[in-house]
């Protein structure tokens, strides 16, 4: 299956909608163990991407993703804004030269996205961060693609993995960012950034599963 420019546009438009829909939800989660700005930053950053994506004249999907990442970094230079931007930029660099993505390239997109996030934030799975929903999804997708599953099915499974990963953050203690000061007190609370990670996968899933 080939993911083309039109699909990418739809994915980012969908992501814009998702983040706006979840604005208050993210704010509440971040207010509990952070500074409460996550709903604002994610809705602002991703609606901006949704509004510009169709107007960017760029055939190279790698360069397109890099530009979207740069834009996100400029619009919302918060922790999550910068991490998501770093993921997009890393993936964009890795996939430079492609005008469409096959299944392996989609798996590489997520793999590099997660690496970008981990490099930028120096975090790892289990730290109660966005990585805990992104990483399992990316690993699941990688495996499904290796097994030759249909991308629609693979992304569905990846999404489920992100949901489980998000759920797993509830019992973790924060070690990064503003939540780190709460440490043990953060146990029992779902990680706000991991919630964004799950929503991010959801955007891809919603579009790709319906192709």
């Amino acid at each position: 299956m080939q993911i083309n420019r039109e699909h990418i546009n739809r994915i980012f438009i969908t992501l814009g909608d998702i983040m706006v829909e979840n604005k208050n939800y993210l704010t509440e989660l971040d207010a509990a163990i952070g500074d409460g700005d996550l709903g604002l930053t994610m809705s602002k950053g991703f609606s901006e991407l949704a509004s510009i994506v169709t107007n960017i004249h760029e055939e190279d999907l790698g360069k397109l993703l890099f530009k979207l990442g740069s834009n996100l970094a400029n619009t919302v230079p918060s922790t999550m804004g910068t991490l998501m931007a770093s993921g997009l930029m890393k993936a964009g660099k890795a996939l430079k030269g492609n005008n469409s993505f096959n299944d392996e390239e989609m798996a590489a997109f997520f793999d590099n996205f997660v690496i970008g996030v981990m490099e930028r934030g120096k975090g790892k799975p289990g730290d109660k961060t966005v990585i805990d929903s992104l990483y399992p999804a990316s690993e699941s997708l990688k495996e499904s693609v290796l097994e030759g599953k249909d991308l629609r099915l693979s992304i569905n499974e990846a999404y489920k993995a992100s949901v489980d990963g998000l759920e797993s953050t509830i019992n973790m203690a924060s070690t990064h960012g503003k939540a780190a000061v709460f440490q043990e007190k953060s146990v029992g609370k779902q990680d706000p950034g991991a919630t964004v990670g799950k929503l991010f996968i959801e955007g891809f899933y919603k579009v790709i599963a319906n192709l």
Binding site: P77, S78, H176, K178, V181
Partner: protein, 333 residues
């Protein structure tokens, strides 16, 4: 909210406009972006020093851009990191051929953006960038976990001393070495008696009741180590000194600089009442205060409270500390 402002969402930018109007002889901005704040007069061949961080802490961060101190500052929204791109624009503007040192507070958002900016500077402009983070708040993580500590008022000493080192035309490695030495020898502890309000939010997102205090609270309201009834100035100073000297012991004969900083709402009178006790205690320990600073050095808008910073000096840092400096917000002869 007892604040003099227009639209809350314009707080940071209107502040900047006022600053550029008042100090147009010394500072300006680049890339048509008010938030890319730079010194007008960049000395060729000198190591450039950049900082950056959220608004709402004046004179931190931009207030230390000027003669004998630092060269540029990217400015974020209230308590928000500026973007990597803004940092990169500042970096390009202040690079005078000898590379750029980033000195900023140890906060996740800022770290990631400065790292990204450093990559851009390397990849796109071949500018060598090194970074040192300020992490002086002893109350924010225990000994052995110094890398987790928040950066607070002690960053002033990094700006001052690294700035003087750059003025002596030290190279980037040495300016960085000096900044790191300051970092290793500076400790701060604060106390908050009231919250502050982010204008766009309009209400405090934490509280400190009248007659209460929170020891070790961060400058964004991060939880401290002890919440309880307000103690006397002398008791507060004793606790602060216990924590600071417990973490970085001093012995008779050591020389230090002391900074008593208002978080914004605490008047100067009270800083001097605190200093009266600080000096007495240090003198009793045989420690010599070489240079004292009192006033607003790192604030959280109208937050009531104060912090105490002690920097242990050696010959090099002492010499550099005592050099003149002159910015719109700080002046030393």
């Amino acid at each position: 909210m007892k604040r003099i402002l227009n639209k809350p969402e314009n707080y940071a930018d209107e502040t900047l406009k006022g600053i550029y109007k008042a100090h147009s002889d010394m500072v300006t901005y680049v890339n048509d972006d008010l938030r890319c704040y730079v010194k007008k007069d960049i000395k060729p061949g000198r190591v450039g020093i950049a900082t950056g961080g959220g608004s709402g802490h004046l004179p931190v961060f931009l207030g230390y851009v000027g003669e004998g101190m630092i060269d540029g500052c990217s400015v974020g929204g209230v308590f928000q990191s500026p973007s990597a791109n803004q940092m990169f624009e500042v970096t390009k503007a202040i690079n005078a051929g000898a590379g750029v040192l980033y000195i900023y507070g140890n906060y996740t958002g800022d770290i990631m953006n400065f790292d990204m900016a450093a990559e851009m500077a390397d990849m796109e402009s071949d500018i060598r960038v090194e970074s040192v983070v300020g992490a002086d708040d002893v109350a924010s993580a225990k000994k052995g976990e110094e890398h987790k500590r928040r950066g607070v008022a002690g960053i002033f000493y990094m700006f001052k001393i690294a700035g003087a080192a750059a003025d002596e035309m030290m190279d980037l490695d040495n300016v960085k070495r000096v900044a790191e030495k300051v970092g290793a020898n500076v400790r701060t502890m604060g106390v908050a008696l009231s919250p502050c309000i982010i204008p766009e939010i309009g209400k405090a997102n934490f509280t400190v009741e009248d007659g209460m205090m929170e020891l070790g609270m961060g400058i964004h309201g991060e939880p401290g180590i002890d919440k309880g009834p307000l103690k006397t100035a002398n008791e507060i100073v004793e606790i602060m000194l216990d924590n600071i000297l417990g973490d970085n012991p001093l012995k008779a004969g050591d020389e230090v600089s002391v900074l008593v900083n208002s978080l914004g709402g605490t008047p100067k009178e009270e800083l001097y009442i605190m200093y009266n006790k600080v000096e007495e205690t240090l003198t009793n320990l045989g420690i010599k205060v070489v240079k004292t600073y009192l006033g607003e050095f790192a604030t959280s808008m109208e937050m009531v409270g104060a912090s105490l910073t002690i920097l242990k000096l050696d010959e090099e840092t002492k010499r550099l500390l005592l050099k003149p400096a002159h910015t719109p917000f700080f002046s030393q002869k």
